[in-house]
Symmetry: C2
Subunit: 376 residues, 2 copies
Amino acid sequence: MAQGFGFEISARDGKARTGVIQTTRGEIRTPAFMPVGTAGTVKAMLPGSVRETGADILLGNTYHLMLRPTAARIERLGGLHKFMNWERPILTDSGGFQVMSLSDLRKLTEEGVTFRSHVDGSKHFLSPETSMEIQRQLGSDIVMCFDECPALPADEATVAKSMRMSMRWAQRSRDAFGDRPGHALFGIQQGGVTEHLRGESAEALKSIGFDGYAVGGLAVGEGQEAMFSVLDYAPQQLPDDKPRYLMGVGKPDDIVGAVQRGIDMMDCVLPSRSGRTGQAWTPRGQVNIKNQRHQDDPRPLDENCTCPACRNYPRAYLHHVFKAQEIIASMLLTWHNLHYYQQLMQGLRDAIAAQRLDAFVAEFHAKRAEGDIEPI
Amino acid sequence: MAQGFGFEISARDGKARTGVIQTTRGEIRTPAFMPVGTAGTVKAMLPGSVRETGADILLGNTYHLMLRPTAARIERLGGLHKFMNWERPILTDSGGFQVMSLSDLRKLTEEGVTFRSHVDGSKHFLSPETSMEIQRQLGSDIVMCFDECPALPADEATVAKSMRMSMRWAQRSRDAFGDRPGHALFGIQQGGVTEHLRGESAEALKSIGFDGYAVGGLAVGEGQEAMFSVLDYAPQQLPDDKPRYLMGVGKPDDIVGAVQRGIDMMDCVLPSRSGRTGQAWTPRGQVNIKNQRHQDDPRPLDENCTCPACRNYPRAYLHHVFKAQEIIASMLLTWHNLHYYQQLMQGLRDAIAAQRLDAFVAEFHAKRAEGDIEPI
């Protein structure tokens, strides 16, 4: 375990756990949702506002930051925390997933991935060693191993071959990371939707030893049912006493199901991205604020929500600023969605602590089944 | 004078004055700069943040709001203040200027202007009477007369004819406005750059009687020199004991020159619009944050500025988020620019109160002459 990094589970309910991850930059209450600050900003939010929603930690994207403004520049300017004015913990991904999904002209070998930047076409190389170096330059508190995964569905042989290379890369990541007090390194389990491959991957990671373990390679198009069927066993293949992080998840009901299955950390662009397109998340489900039925509605988006969008504005206003393509539309709905997500996490933490998670989940689904309020 | 509305001059320095406009929604310190909230939002800012910059009053655009979301809808929802979550004073323009500059297929007669919406092509009619009704529906605290003005340069006969119709419209505006306690009506002086026409317009307005008087028809392409030469006499043609409002001005040095010439109120989209395009205003002049020279600069935009952009971020960060087209770029630079404008107004008010306006203006120009800090 890295010095200055720890995980304490304070309560359990079924497979679910609640607790605190200790870092040198502050505590992370788990289960935790990490807003995504891709390029050094959670889009349309000031860092103080992100914190006000209840976020303890942000995620930064190595792929985006290495290309622009570059990791070397961020290091010269004092690191990512100072650069983006966020003093609390930051987790950075390894760049592996986004190289595969965003860049052009990739060439994947045992050594690493050569690719061209989507920003300016320049040529770059990412490997376990370069990813560790870039994440060191960024100064992130939780560093992710460099891995790769095939898009699902993929045949078992393809998944196995890819997973085994990722496990060799996990060892190289561990070796390159070295000993960095105050900075944690997480391994990433692969193996697709095949239980014995997930098990093989978990054993490989445990024998290397990490400060936390991610369930990777999900939320890549397999659907919620397939994801949950993996989560029915995958978290239990990983060490019980270390944080388990489900990468890139998800919708509110994905999050609830993942927490029930023993996941401690998640991240997703969904609340911020959907905020910019007029999609709001509430206890009653998803609301498209651009729908004309809101144009005369004097009621808030969610009457029980305490975010600035709900406290200060009628639905009619939110509808108007989206139709008029005003920046405040993205600002308000992103804030609302991040607030809703963090409220959901607080609800999950409280329910686990009180050992009433089943009841909480039943209420969560019942409220969603009611659907949005009727038009006035 | 409208009930609940008053103007008290507390100090003078040359032609310049400082004081307070009293409204039922709070005080407006003069000279005042009014940020523009065209469509129910000061772009890229939350209302609380606008207030934090020091703004006492916002301007709303009748033309934009009547088309979307419509004045009737805003009235049903409780008025513009409640709709946009700004409880302090709002001044609305009459729509006249923007009909001329933005709409299609205008037809101008003595009765008013028929035009098509730039939003959806729908047909609308604005006249002194409909403009007063729309501004009543919006609930603005300071209502502007409906007027029109030709683009400059224009020959004297054209300017005179237009001005005289605007004066007939001023009487119709006054008649249609009626008696609305707590709401003020301002007349608008026209007459182009011709002193005797400005004088004729001022006399016509004074004989009707208004709560305040605007100098209209400037900042329409005539240049600063021509504008100042009009401001050398026009404010003094208007009543000394009423607020004088210079519409649509301007750059910081325009503002300083206008205040020296006896102007009490101004509005302009410049600080917010230029914030969205990467142009920052500082005591040292204009800075284009997109310029590559800022990409490694760890220093704030303005080391003496206390806005969030300058307090929390290096120039390198502001440069990065503009290059990456992040929303936070517009948010931070708009905040900075509005903060700078309000600091400038506070400096002008303090200088007039201390009767050291000439020295303040000399320092203002000397600082700008130094230019931006050298690249590191």
